[in-house]
């Protein structure tokens, strides 16, 4: 190409973006890795270089400005210590893996062994055959139809993570705790899970884990396997970060994922789910509550590729003090996916007039015999409901609290373990009591 060729402003911008990304990536050393992993990382760099880092002007980022997420350095913000309530999941008997500011803390963690599970760390990975086929693979698959450059950046540069292979039915949850001790820290973690046919496990995650975090999970759920996933990101007001959950479900496989997000300055949770075998079921739910300088973005994409599958997206946000909630959700039903049952609901409860909810719900259907519904609403507490409760003697604050919890109830229904659901309920209640 010669300089004389006229380019549109759009093409010129893209060229500049790609060049900036390539220059930046050329300076980023990839973490020391065995051959297979290095190749996977190089593949991710190539994907990233081909699309460039995201910009606010991208359609896919129209509601959420990615600038702080891709800035060369993380923000420096006060460390938030929770002293007034026990940490999440403290009551649960679990296998605990602790990362502090993105660095594995062996002393605080349990030994990496349990019946029915193989666990190892990405930073210590040697030739783990099952993970070689997965690391970066689901992320690569998720680059279409919309590029997810932050996920590729994570695959390229993740410093650690856990690699979990589940072979049996495991009762005791694996719990990954992200703690933060430094004012400025960047956690880039990448987990890979493979659930072998018929296996079952519960994965718990909690804590923001760093001033800025990027956590990618690639999850392969084989025929008839079941993954329960509960994640909380709580109370650290200044944190920013992204998560990407990429899940592929085989025939009859089940996924139930619930995320609780409170506070946080800027969080984007992306989920990409592929239903690749007959009769699978995926439920992705999220409850988010924010007050003031808070933006929480749920971006969800469920692709039905096989018949007789069911999927649910249930996302609810409680916003006040000028907080912003974002939902971008899609159900894509490909031609072979007959008898798909797809459901999507995204709702926000605005506790004042300054807060706002931005939603883009989408359905795209190529099969003719499917049942899909979606709905998105944004509103205030219902005055008639509030009056009814107060007329029975329930004080206004308590009545509002009951109604907000009622609003969120549909998300909590997606948690199978009642003790964990109850813990989440108490967290929500605690937050509401602190933010009247």
């Amino acid at each position: 190409m010669t300089a004389a060729v006229a380019t549109s402003p759009r093409a010129a911008r893209l060229a500049a973006r790609l060049q900036a990304t390539q220059e930046r990536m050329a300076k980023v050393p990839l973490p020391a890795s065995p051959g297979w992993l290095l190749r996977a990382r190089e593949g991710a760099v190539a994907r990233l270089n081909a699309t460039g880092l995201p910009e606010k002007r991208d359609e896919y980022w129209r509601y959420t400005d990615p600038a702080a997420l891709i800035a060369p350095t993380p923000p420096s913000v006060d460390v938030f210590e929770i002293t007034d309530e026990p940490l999440v999941f403290d009551h649960v008997d679990r296998l605990r893996l602790v990362f502090v500011d993105g660095v594995f803390d062996a002393a605080a963690s349990d030994p990496l062994e349990a019946e029915g599970i193989e666990i190892s760390r990405l930073a210590e990975a040697t030739d783990i055959h099952w993970a070689q086929d997965l690391y970066g693979a689901l992320e690569a698959r998720a680059q279409a139809p919309v590029a997810r450059p932050l996920a590729a950046l994570n695959s390229a540069t993740a410093t650690d993570g856990v690699l979990i292979r589940v072979t049996g039915k495991v009762d005791r949850p694996v719990s990954v705790c992200y703690l933060r001790r430094k004012a400025a820290s960047d956690a880039i973690l990448h987990h890979v899970l493979r659930l072998e046919p018929g296996s079952e496990m519960t994965l718990l995650e909690n804590g923001p884990g760093a001033a800025r975090s990027s956590i990618v999970s690639e999850i392969d759920i084989a025929e008839g396997a079941v993954l329960h996933h509960v994640r909380t990101m709580g109370r650290d007001h200044q944190r920013i970060g992204t998560t990407h959950l990429f899940a592929r479900l085989g025939a009859g496989a089940r996924l139930k994922s619930f995320s609780l997000s409170v506070n946080g300055r800027l969080m984007r949770n992306e989920a990409m789910v592929w239903m690749t075998g007959k009769g699978g079921s995926a439920h992705i739910a999220g409850a988010a509550m924010g007050d003031g300088a808070f933006l929480h973005d749920d971006t969800v994409f469920v692709t039905h590729q096989a018949p007789d599958c069911e999927s649910r997206q249930v996302f609810k946000k409680v916003l006040r003090g000028g907080a912003v909630g974002v939902f971008q959700g899609k159900i894509l039903v490909e031609q072979p996916a007959q008898q798909t049952d797809g459901y999507q609901i995204s709702q926000s409860l605005l506790l004042d007039e300054r807060s706002q909810f931005l939603a883009k719900p989408e359905l795209e259907i190529y099969a003719d015999d499917v049942k899909c519904s979606h709905g998105s609403t944004s509103g205030e507490i219902d005055a008639d409901h509030l009056f009814y409760l107060r007329a029975r003697g329930v004080p206004e604050d308590e009545a509002k609290l009951l109604l907000v919890l009622a609003f969120l109830a549909e998300t909590l229904d997606e948690i199978d373990r009642e003790d964990i659901a109850e813990d989440m309920r108490q967290r929500l209640r605690g937050w509401l009591e602190r933010h009247r």
Binding site: D382, A383, D384, H385, F387, Y388, L389, R390, A391, R392, G393, V394, P395, E396, E398, A399, L402, L403, L405, A406, F407, L408, A409, E410
Partner: protein
């Protein structure tokens, strides 16, 4: 017990007066009935007494045991002993009936300086009262009024009343939507609560409810005012002849 004097109420957002100098006095131990044509302001009166938003009191007073109701929050009125069985009880998805009832009972006890009921005692009490109203345990587990039939909602109102034991009970068309058997159940529920320290204000269109809940006094309300007050016979007269005669008589 309940003293309403020259009450004038307009809509907050509209220059429309609905109650136009209403005066009414209900003494402890008695049952008063209010009848009146559609749109005469009966529900508005009940809402204003219970403290619903959207109305402006421009004149007059309403007191319960000498205390002005109109200055209190809705929950304070409830704690003071006022109860309104709604004409149209709302459905509240996501709030369990039991959680709601227990929160309400304990909030009122707390406001009155009484000890809260333990979970066990509460459960026993609810079950016993629900049984007499033929409300089955499964219904109690559902969210407040969600999926209840019209009659079930009304029975649920009476269950709440039985649990809260208010002293001034206002029933707004509790009989509408009830079948004959349910009407008997509800009336029995009300009659069981009748005592010297408690009063009822029963809003209804039909004599039939008053066959079961025998009123001491019957008021006719029209155009935002009580236009005639009499004994139980007045209800029979309305049942037989409608309102035309009475309204003609008072405007004459």
């Amino acid at each position: 017990m309940l003293e309403i004097n020259n009450l004038h109420v307009k809509l907050e957002n509209e220059n429309k007066e609905i109650l136009k100098g209403l005066t009414l006095s209900v003494e402890a131990g008695s049952v008063h009935a209010i009848m009146g044509p559609n749109g005469s302001g009966k529900s508005t009166l009940s809402y204003v007494l219970a403290g619903r938003d959207g109305y402006t009191v421009t004149d007059g007073s309403a007191t319960l045991d000498g205390e002005s109701l109109l200055d209190m929050e809705p929950e304070e009125r409830a704690a003071a002993g006022l109860f309104l069985a709604f004409q149209y009880p709302v459905e509240i998805p996501g709030v369990g009936n039991m959680t709601f009832l227990r929160t309400a009972v304990n909030a009122q006890r707390k406001a009155r300086g009484e000890a809260e009921l333990s979970a066990g005692d509460f459960l026993k009490l609810v079950r016993a009262k629900a049984k007499t109203l033929k409300i089955d345990a499964e219904m109690l587990k559902r969210p407040v009024n969600v999926g209840f039939s019209g009659g079930e909602k009304k029975r649920n109102e009476i269950l709440q009343m039985a649990m809260l034991e208010p002293r001034m009970c206002i029933l707004d068309e509790t009989d509408s939507g009830l079948d004959v058997d349910a009407m008997k159940l509800v009336s029995e529920g009300v009659n069981a609560l009748r005592d010297a320290g408690r009063a009822f204000l029963v809003i209804t269109h039909y004599q039939r409810l008053l066959d079961h809940i025998k009123p001491d006094v019957v008021h006719i309300m029209a155009n935002g005012r009580i236009v005639k007050t009499g004994g139980p016979d007045l209800a029979l007269e309305v049942e037989k002849n409608g309102y035309a005669d009475i309204l003609a008589e008072v405007s004459a």
